[in-house]
Amino acid sequence: MMLSYYLELAIRSLRRNVALTALMVTVVGFGIGASMTVLTTLRAMAVDPIPNKSAQLFVPQIDAWGPPTRPGGGADGSGQLFDQLTYRDATGLMQARKAARQTAMYAVSLDTVSLEGVPLPVDGRAAYADFFQMFEVPFRYGGPWSAADDKGRANVVVLSARLAARLFPHVNPVGRTISLSGQEYRIVGVMDVWNPVPRFYDLTQGPNSGLADADSLFVPFSTAIEREMPDNGSIRCNARVAPGFAGQLASECVWIQFWAQLPTQAAARDYKTFLYNYAAEQRRLGRFHWKPWVELRDVHQWMALEISVPETLRVSSVVAFGFLAVCLINAAGLMLARFSGRAGELGVRRALGASRWDIGWQCVVETAVVGLPAGVVGLALTFAGLASQRALHMVAGSAAAVARVTSLGDGMIAITLVLAVCATVCSALYPIWRASRLLPAWQLKAQ
């Protein structure tokens, strides 16, 4: 009852001074728009790409180079571990099969022929059959290849929805063959649209790899090695390597990514022990000449390690929140002006028996009424800001996946509106307090 009366009063008083109201709405709106744009983008960097499994999927790291050549390492034995493994270690872990599921993988680049008869380069990934279940890849047609295909180095392939639509429009291509770099492969499955953001299963390809598209096709790891498909990702070596693909396989170069699925904490502990023992074994065999160093990180830890928030984004977030602060200070000043201007009216209400609390509540309602349209303005500006961000990413060459990252969910819409109202009311706390402290008698006299 009282609330509707306050609302009526608020709207009446806001309409009396349209210019001031519009100014307040715009100012708060801009502040909200700038900070929400940055907040949404920042949040996208930390979103969990696979919520029900992020505590079960782990990346093992093994120190295969030792103190002298370890990245960032000095003579004191400091430094970091690589985010990739050598081929030897990756196959060693695959053969041990100590995890519930595991896959070694690396990026490959193949070529096929488009429907127009033009050569078409495609980015793919060599992985084990476990990959699809570990990362919960949805399938439209068919399914993953079998463990026997892995063992038998079968010429089988799984296509992404996009590539399948491009090469085999409107049909189910499972069972057909596709020519890839001069070799025929049998299509066993077509994935449904699957574009995890960030592309957490391979974050090793530089600062923007989290925003890359999922791969266009998948082939068995063993087949890729047999066909000597060159690595299309990053590779690091610390010594001369014997020539050819065989030389790369035998080398201490790191270029293979590895994931293990460990359903329980106990399993993860056991796996880490296994990794340590593996490294100790390599030392005994004379390959490593240093104390074993291994790590095992789950999806969250891995993302924290691999995805550094771009410096430009961190700078913009600092600036955007400074901007919001200025907007709120500005709004506070304008509120102060508005309430002091209405001292007479408020004085009359006090004299007629309204308590300080009543006056206070009335002012809170009035500011909230300003805050809501400010939130709408802020929301519009946030949409515009995110749209321009998407446009920027497109130009910068990263993928459609970014669209999902920088879109505003229902949750964020609610958060924006609530933030706008709260920020406006907070900025007006002092003006409200002052308005409620007015002495009625003095105000009446001044009339």
Binding site: R240, P243, I329, A396
Partner: protein, 408 residues
């Protein structure tokens, strides 16, 4: 001077009655200044970064990737045929096959040492494969020594780990390797058993990742190799003014020679540069836009608050006018008052801005801000605030002396 001082005292007294309002304007000025000066500094930083020359003839160069399809066995022969063809296209000065080029983004990196058994390399470097046409193609400037001769050129596959007898390095890398003597003729080590002699030094050659930061932007080494790989880059230099025509002609001729390839990423070097600095540039534009918006908000906020202020003090203004103050005096009163508030805000803002810069320097590895930006931002903010107060002050000046009594 004395008159101005006499004016300030009553202003200060009047301000004491509106402490919070004045404080809010001052705070706003302070924050605005702190943000604007840091943004200006970051924008200037971007301009400095993006303005560094790559060392090559940027105006006339274009590049493209060439991907052979279906694993042809005779790659070296095909590459030679391609190069001969491109070099024969009218309007082409010269052409190169390579693994990477300045500002491309990705490329090869290696740690280079001056002693055979060195645990930590002396300097990182990028590796560019070039042949005897490299100097003419890139338009590099030889500072000392010589360029490669045709007889020196070897072949190098993607994962070959061979090293040539002679290399050419950028001047920056030469000084990093041998700070105290002439690097020309000296030996450098890629591995304990792999050494090369420096036979030439070029004035400047940026790395593929020069746009990403300042740490590895000019450490470049040229090796006398033809890059033998299914995917390579061609670098072509056209005669001045003929770039566009040559870009189309080269593609058509190459496809006519063999259709068993994919030509992609055909870019003039201007586009390469544009793309390399895309992110920092968009951030600079964003920061600039935010600054303008911020100044606009400060402007309108100050107008709004002063306007209200004037309304509050109509009686006081009328009284002053009745006591003989001219319109100009009233105008000056409000401008002086604003200068006092904004000036104190600006002082606070300078401190805030410098503090924020220190934080940015330590947390985000940004460079220190020059004091010029602080002063420039202070001047801009004070000017905006003076402009903002002009209109309300004009309204105040138009208050008639009669207002002194009519409001009673």
């Amino acid at each position: 001077m004395a008159a101005a001082f006499m004016e300030i005292l009553p202003i200060l007294k009047a301000l004491r009655r509106n402490k919070v309002g004045a404080m809010l304007i001052g705070l706003q000025i302070a924050f605005t200044l702190a943000i604007v000066c840091n943004c200006l500094s970051m924008i200037q930083q971007y301009r400095d970064d993006a303005g560094r020359p790559s060392g090559i003839d940027e105006a006339d160069i274009f590049t493209f990737s060439n991907q052979w399809v279906g694993k042809p066995p005779d790659l070296p022969a095909r590459t030679n045929a391609d190069l001969a063809l491109i070099r024969s296209v009218p309007g082409v000065v010269d052409a190169q096959v390579t693994n990477s080029f300045p500002l491309r983004g990705g490329g090869m990196g290696w740690g280079l040492s001056v002693k055979p058994e060195q645990r930590i390399p002396t300097s990182p470097t990028t590796i560019y494969f070039v042949d005897d046409h490299g100097l003419a193609t890139y338009g590099l400037k030889l500072a000392a020594g010589r360029w490669f001769t045709a007889s020196e050129i070897g072949e190098h596959g993607m994962h070959d780990m061979t090293f040539p007898a002679s290399v050419i390095v950028s001047d920056y890398l030469a000084r990093k390797l041998y700070p105290s003597r002439n690097a020309l003729g000296q030996v450098v080590y890629w591995a304990p058993t792999a050494a090369s002699r420096i036979v030439g030094i070029v004035e400047r050659a940026q790395t593929p990742w020069a746009a990403y930061g300042h740490t590895e932007d000019e450490q470049s080494t040229f090796m006398p190799y033809h890059f033998v790989n299914s995917g390579v880059y061609y670098v072509v230099r056209a005669r001045p003014g003929q770039l566009n025509a040559v870009m189309t002609a080269v593609q058509t001729r190459l496809y006519a020679l063999s259709r068993q390839r994919v030509i992609d990423q055909v870019q003039s070097f201007a586009e390469t540069r544009n793309l390399a600095y895309f992110r920092p540039r968009s951030t600079a534009v964003l920061l600039g836009g935010l600054c303008l918006l911020l100044l606009a908000i400060t402007l309108f906020g100050t107008i709004g608050l002063t306007m209200y202020w004037v309304g509050q003090r109509r009686r006081q203004i009328g009284m002053r006018r009745a006591l003989g103050a001219r319109r100009l005096d009233v105008l000056r009163y409000f401008h002086t008052e604003n200068l006092l508030i904004a000036g104190s805000g600006a002082l606070l803002g300078i401190a805030l801005g410098l503090g924020a810069n220190l934080w940015l320097v330590s947390h985000l590895e940004l460079p220190r801000m020059s004091i010029a930006f602080v002063l420039a931002a202070a001047a801009v903010v004070l000017a905006v605030s003076q402009v903002a107060v002009f209109w309300p002050a004009l309204r105040a000046a138009s208050v008639s002396p009669a207002a002194a009594i009519s409001a009673l």
